[in-house]
Symmetry: C2
Subunit: 269 residues, 2 copies
């Protein structure tokens, strides 16, 4: 782990990242010693920092530090956290914050191979996401809703929890974005009021545009999702998982999802 | 500063308090070497921990550690943070978390004396609080809404920002609870969907009950607030500030607020 470029595994207990969750983060795959889709992740980091009016560390600095953590040929998961640093007491951000940057590398989680080919089981969480347009889409450090939702089940047979918002619209998984295929078109939830807009979601949207696949950002509920031809989940660590079970429905054939999965794992960017 | 009972000013960069804001906190006054209203603060800490299914450290342990930080006769502000500690990667809380406790003592902020006698200026923030009943009332570490709201102004003549919710209901200040006096009755916002229910708010509600003062937890907007006979703000650090200015209105006479202020600062509990 590197904290502000130093080999360290601790931060100041006066850091605003701890006190208020005043910061943002990214989680990305490292394969063969290379961080995947680095430019996309950095662009999101910049956007998310901007949403909090937080100075974003330079790409070259972060990339240099990432490579100090990554041994040649390594596979793993890299996490980058940027906080507003330590400051005087009180919520008001300091005028000239000195951001804290934390980089960590951990092994890849051992996901079962059949999750990719046969799909995963999805459950609907009781927790409903609140609407906060000022923070929607941003991968910030205020993640208690995700924590509460992920605490709802411990059956290892359930791979992910589906999050609805206060209006019972489908938004995302606790740690993934969601797509459904319906009548030949791809649909993914509108994230303008809540949710995290991830890099893989962006890649799928671009894939659809590049391949002329009808695709819409839309508002839909669990009933429409249940009636979908296919459902799939994406994030930067898992890649793409088709959904094989939700509520009383099951799916075993995911031609659309498999096509996107193939593309996601092989397209250079 | 004490971290888990040791003189330290750093915490693990893998602490869930940093990663997810997965924790709660209290801020309380220390006067003449004694933490004020300790039992109330501890009760709230317990309730807030329970809301997150987080084990709450024993009162005796926290109090012993507080007294190690507080020299005899000291005045100051004590902050207690309890997080879910470090754990494996992912939002799901570990089954047997080892909470992190952080205690810090800082000097009292130098609040001007006239804030207490002549009142303070209050402005309405643009940011609207989101509705999350699962977290409402709880003083947790997900405080980005407060940070964004407090960043909206830097005029030192404005003492506090008023937070409305998505439905334009009055909720609280960025770091205080709010009361208004209208037609001889005391009203304070309903905090069942957002906001933090502080110890001083609880004390005022109990004062009203004990003194037979008509008092209601209610839903009201800025228009009704503007028309109030008096407005006042409370928290455990400032005590009570009457409001002298809001929107185009000003107040200079606060008999009700002054009576509550007198009681709050002298009642033993």
């Amino acid at each position: 782990m590197l904290v502000n470029g130093e080999l360290d595994d601790s931060i100041s207990a006066a850091d605003r990242g701890l006190l208020y969750g005043d910061g943002v983060f990214r989680t990305l795959r490292v394969t063969g010693g290379q961080p995947l889709h680095w430019q996309r992740h950095y662009r999101k980091l910049q956007q998310d920092c901007a949403a909090l009016a937080l100075p974003c560390p330079d790409a070259s600095l972060l990339l240099e530090e990432l490579h100090r953590l990554i041994a040649s040929g390594t596979d793993g998961v890299a996490k980058i956290i940027v906080t507003r640093g330590a400051g005087v007491r009180g919520y008001a951000p300091p005028g000239n914050p000195i951001p804290t940057r934390i980089l960590a590398l951990t092994p890849c989680p051992p996901y079962p191979g059949e999750s990719y080919t046969q799909g995963v089981k999805l459950r609907i969480c009781d927790l409903r996401l609140s609407h906060q347009p000022r923070l929607a889409g941003v991968k910030h450090l205020n993640r208690l809703e995700n924590v509460l939702a992920a605490a709802e089940w411990d059956d290892p047979g359930i791979a992910e929890g589906l999050l609805l918002d206060m209006g019972d619209n489908v938004i995302e998984g606790t740690r993934s974005n969601l797509f459904m295929v319906s009548g030949g078109a791809l649909l993914t939830p509108d994230l303008s009021r809540c949710g995290v807009a991830g890099v893989q979601r962006e890649r799928v949207l671009e894939w659809a545009a590049a391949h002329g696949a009808p695709c819409r950002i839309a508002q839909f509920g669990p009933g429409e999702l249940r009636a979908a031809d296919e459902i799939f989940l994406v994030n930067s660590i898992i890649g793409l998982w088709p959904v094989r079970e939700l509520l009383d429905r099951s799916w075993s054939y995911f031609p659309f999802a498999m096509q996107v999965q193939e593309w996601l794992s092989h397209a250079p960017d």
